[in-house]
Amino acid sequence: MKKILLATALLGASMTASANAPGGPGCGWGNMLFEGQSGLPIHLLATLVNGTSGNATFGMTSGTNGCDTSGPLAYSGSSLLAMNGVLEEVAHDIAMGEGEALTALSVSMGVSSDDRGHFNSVLHQNFSAIFPHESVTAEEVLASIQAIMKADQQLVKYTA
C-alpha cells in the first residue's frame, strides 16, 4: 500500500511541468547547510547552476543545491526522473541492464520485486526507443517507458 502511494506521488509529480528543487520546498539562498556546501569555486559553481531544477533534460548538470530544510519529506514535490542527475544514472543502468537507479525507478513505479528482472531486461532491449536523442526530457522518457510497459504482458498491470 505504501509503495503504491509512493509511486503515485513520484509519477503524479513528474507529470507536472516543474518540479521543486531537490532538498525540499522553501529552500532559498540564505538557507544552505554546512555539509553539502563546499569551499572551492567549482563546487560553488555547481551550487549556482543548480539553483533550480526545472524539467530535466538528458545530460544535465547533476546534483542538488546543497540546501536542506527540516520540513516535510521532499518526495511530494519532486519526481525521481525530474531530479537533476537522475536521468543520466537511469540511462546508464538501462544501457547496462541493471543498477541502483533502475531499481529505484522500478520501486517508484510500483513494480514488484518479482517482476524487476523482467522490467530491467525489457527496458534494456528498448534503450534506443527510450532515449531516441540527446534532448529527450524526463517526461518523454517516462512516457516511453509507460508505453513499453503497456505493450508488455507482464508489466501492463503496473500502468493502470
Partner: protein, 621 residues
C-alpha cells in the same frame, strides 16, 4: 488464584490513572525526570561537553512546554503530563515520543492516541519501516566543514528496494551564504550558527557526496530493534524545526546523532565521557564498541568507479577511451574494433563516466550530451556480446580500522653534533606518512601539533607548533586533473638573523600554495608552489613575505609503511633564502604504534645543519 488477585489490582491502577496526573505523580515525577530516556528526550547535557551542563542542548523555546523547561527536566515533565494527558490534545501531535514515554510510565492506555494528528500521521506513514543506518561520507579536504568526514542517518525501506529511496536524517548548521570563509569558520567554532535536523531523500545525499564531491561513503546498519527504531523516528518528529546551536568541534553532526541513538537505546553509554571534539570516525568506533553495528557497506565515489573502470584497460585503451569521449565516430574505426567486445564496452563505459565526471558540475552542453548518449548506445549494443561478470571493485580498509585520532611521540635526535630529546603531542589526526589504512590516502590534516625539544644545554623549548597543517595530494590521471594544495600555519624555529648571529629563532608563519601530484603504482610524486608570511623578531618588518617551491616523492611500500623524500626552498623579501631537504620513513608496528625516522638538511644562505630523528609514535583515543 493469581488471576483473582490481579483483577482488583488492575482496577485500582485504572482508578489511579483517572486521578489528575499531578496529584498521583508528585512523588515519582522527580525520579521519572531522572530516567535516562527522559534525559535523552530532553537532550540534557550530562557531562559529555563543556557548555551548559545539566541543561538541555536545545536552544529553541518552542521545544519546551514549561517556562524553565530547558534547565529543569522535572518541570518539563510536569508540564508535559499536563499537556498530553487529555485525549485529543494538540500537544500530542507535536510530542509523540514524549507521549509514549508518559503513557508507558503512567499507564495511560488509549488505542489511537494520535488519531487527530493528521499531519503527523501522514509524515509517519512516509517514513520507511526498515533498518536505521549510519552513513559516513569520508574526508573531503576541499571543504572546511567536512575535512574529517561527516555522519548522518538513513532510514531504509525493504531490502530488495535498494537505498536510493531511503530517507536521510541530517543535522547541519544553517549557514548564511553571504558569510565569507573566515567568518564561516569563526562562527562554526564559536557557535554562531543554528543547527537543525532535516530529512531528505538519501538519493540527494548520494549525489552530494559520491557524485559531486567524490567522497567514498560507508554505510553501517545499526543493530536497533523495532521498538528502538520507533523511539528514534517519533523523536525525530519532535525535533522538526527545532533549533540547536551548532558547534563545529563538539556539538556537531556526529554528536547529535549519538543523542538520537541514546533516545533509541538509553543507557548505551555513548555519551558518558566528556569530549572536546567529536570526530565523525570516532562516532563510528563508539557505535561499533557499543555493539551497535550489524553490517557495513562500502559505496565508492564516482571518481573511484571511474578509476576502477580505467584500471581494467591497458594504457593505450585508456587513451582511446578518452578520445572516444570526444569523438564517438572512433567506435567504427579499426583501432576500436580490434579489441574484444568486453574491452570495447569497458572503453565506452569509461568514456561515459569520464564525460559525466567532467560535466556533472557544468552547464549542459549539447555536444557533450550527444557524445554521452552515443557512449551509452555503444554500451547497450555491446552488452549482449559480453558474457564475463564485471570485475568487482576492491573495497578499501574501513575507516574504523584506521589508527586512533590523537598521538603522542617521543624522539631522540642529533643536529650537527648536538643530541636532543623531543616530546610531541598531536591533537588530530593524520599526516602523509602515517599508516593510511582506513584514511584517505594523500590527505593530511594536522591540528594542534606540538613538539618540545630539550638539548644538553637547554631545558624544554618549543620547537614547533602547527595550528593547522593540511595537505591535499590529488593525483592526476588520463581522466582527472585535480589541483593539489596545502596550507600550514603556526610557530617553527628556523634559521634567521644576520650571518654574525644566526640562530634558530621562533617564526610565526603561515604558508600555502597550489600543487600537482600524480600516481604511478605505489609512488606519488608531487610539486607545490609556496607562498609564505612570517613574523620573526630577527627581522625589522612586522611581517616578512616569501615565495618558493617544493617537490617530493612518496612511496607506499606495503604493510602500511610509507617512505618519502622531499626538498624545497623559498626566498624571503629581505633577500634571505632557506631551503631544506629530507627523507622520512614511517613503519607501523601495530595499529596504534609506529616508528619514524627523519633525516633533514636545513640550510640558510649556504649554512647548513643536518638533523636526524628517530621517534616512537603512539596513537590513542
Amino acid at each position: 488464584m493469581p488471576l483473582i488477585l490481579i483483577a482488583p489490582l488492575a482496577g485500582l491502577l485504572f482508578l489511579f490513572c483517572l486521578l489528575p496526573p499531578m496529584a498521583q505523580a508528585s512523588v515519582s515525577v522527580a525520579e521519572l525526570a531522572e530516567s535516562p530516556r527522559w534525559q535523552a528526550l530532553m537532550h540534557v547535557n550530562r557531562g559529555a561537553t563543556l557548555r551548559g551542563r545539566g541543561r538541555s542542548y536545545v536552544t529553541d523555546e518552542n521545544f519546551f512546554l514549561a517556562p524553565d523547561g530547558r534547565d529543569n527536566p522535572a518541570a518539563e515533565l510536569h508540564a508535559s503530563i499536563a499537556a498530553l494527558a487529555r485525549p485529543g490534545s494538540e500537544s500530542r501531535c507535536t510530542y509523540p515520543a514524549r507521549y509514549r514515554f508518559l503513557a508507558e510510565h503512567l499507564g495511560w492506555q488509549e488505542a489511537e492516541p494520535f488519531a487527530h494528528c493528521e499531519e503527523y500521521l501522514e509524515w509517519r506513514g512516509q517514513i520507511p519501516e526498515g533498518p536505521i543506518v549510519l552513513i559516513f561520507p569520508a574526508a573531503y579536504l576541499n571543504s572546511p566543514s567536512s575535512m574529517f568526514g561527516h555522519t548522518l542517518l538513513r532510514i531504509d525501506g525493504e531490502e530488495e528496494d535498494g537505498v536510493w529511496l531511503s530517507q536521510a536524517v541530517n543535522f547541519g548548521a544553517q549557514v548564511d551564504s553571504s558569510d565569507n570563509s573566515i567568518f564561516y569558520i569563526y562562527r562554526g567554532l564559536a557557535g554562531g550558527y543554528p543547527g537543525y535536523f532535516s530529512i531528505v531523500p538519501y538519493l540527494t545525499k548520494i549525489q552530494d557526496y559520491a557524485h559531486l564531491e567524490n567522497r567514498d561513503m560507508w554505510e553501517y546498519t545499526l543493530a536497533l530493534d523495532d521498538e528502538e527504531r520507533r523511539w528514534l523516528v517519533e523523536h525525530l518528529w519532535e525535533l522538526r524545526d527545532i533549533r540547536f546551536d551548532y558547534y563545529f568541534f563538539d556539538e556537531n553532526c556526529s554528536f547529535r546523532l549519538l543523542e538520537l541513538v541514546e533516545v533509541a537505546r538509553p543507557g548505551s553509554r555513548l555519551l558518558d565521557d566528556y569530549r572536546f571534539a567529536e570526530v565523525p570516525v570516532n562516532t563510528v568506533r563508539a557505535l561499533d564498541d557499543a555493539g551497535l553495528i550489524e553490517k557495513r557497506v562500502y559505496r565508492p565515489s564516482k571518481a573511484v568507479e571511474l578509476d576502477h573502470l580505467a584500471s581494467q584497460l591497458s594504457p593505450s585503451a585508456r587513451r582511446l577511451a578518452r578520445r572516444l569521449a570526444a569523438d564517438p565516430s572512433l567506435a567504427t574505426g579499426e583501432e576500436f574494433q580490434e579489441h574484444t567486445a568486453e574491452q570495447q564496452r569497458l572503453m565506452a563505459q569509461t568514456a561515459y563516466e569520464f564525460l559525466r565526471f567532467r560535466n556533472r558540475t557544468r552547464e549542459r552542453d549539447p555536444q557533450v550530451a550527444r557524445n554521452s548518449l552515443a557512449m551509452l548506445r555503444l554500451v547497450n549494443s555491446l552488452s549482449s556480446q559480453v558474457v564475463a561478470e564485471a570485475v568487482p571493485l576492491r573495497e578499501p580498509e574501513p575507516p574504523e580500522d584506521g589508527h586512533a585520532t590523537k598521538m603522542v611521540a617521543a624522539a631522540y635526535g642529533q643536529r650537527g653534533g648536538d643530541e636532543f630529546g623531543e616530546v610531541q603531542l598531536r591533537y588530530t589526526y593524520h599526516d602523509l606518512f602515517d599508516n593510511s589504512t582506513g584514511f584517505l590516502r594523500g590527505a593530511q590534516i594536522e591540528g594542534i601539533n606540538i613538539r618540545l625539544r630539550s638539548t644538553e644545554s637547554s631545558a624544554l623549548k618549543l620547537e614547533r607548533l602547527d595550528l593547522v597543517n593540511i595537505r591535499s595530494l590529488a593525483p592526476r590521471s588520463t581522466f582527472v586533473r585535480p589541483v593539489s594544495w596545502f596550507v600550514n600555519g603556526g610557530i617553527e624555529r628556523v634559521q634567521s638573523g644576520t650571518a654574525a648571529d644566526r640562530d634558530y629563532r621562533p617564526s610565526y608563519f603561515i604558508e600555502g600554495g597550489p600543487g600537482l601530484s600524480w600516481q604511478w603504482g605505489s609512488l606519488t610524486p608531487f610539486i607545490f608552489a609556496t607562498f609564505r608570511a612570517e613574523h620573526n623578531h630577527a627581522y625589522d618588518p612586522f611581517v616578512t613575505g616569501a615565495a618558493g617551491a617544493s617537490t617530493g616523492l612518496l612511496w607506499h611500500a606495503g604493510r602500511g609503511a610509507t617512505l618519502g623524500v622531499q626538498g624545497g626552498g623559498y626566498y624571503l623579501t629581505n633577500d634571505e633564502y632557506r631551503h631544506r631537504a629530507g627523507a622520512t620513513a614511517n613503519l607501523p608496528l601495530t595499529r596504534n604504534n609506529a616508528l619514524r625516522f627523519d633525516l633533514e638538511r636545513l640550510a640558510v644562505r649556504g649554512d647548513a645543519d643536518t638533523e636526524f630523528r628517530i621517534s616512537w609514535r603512539y596513537f590513542y583515543d
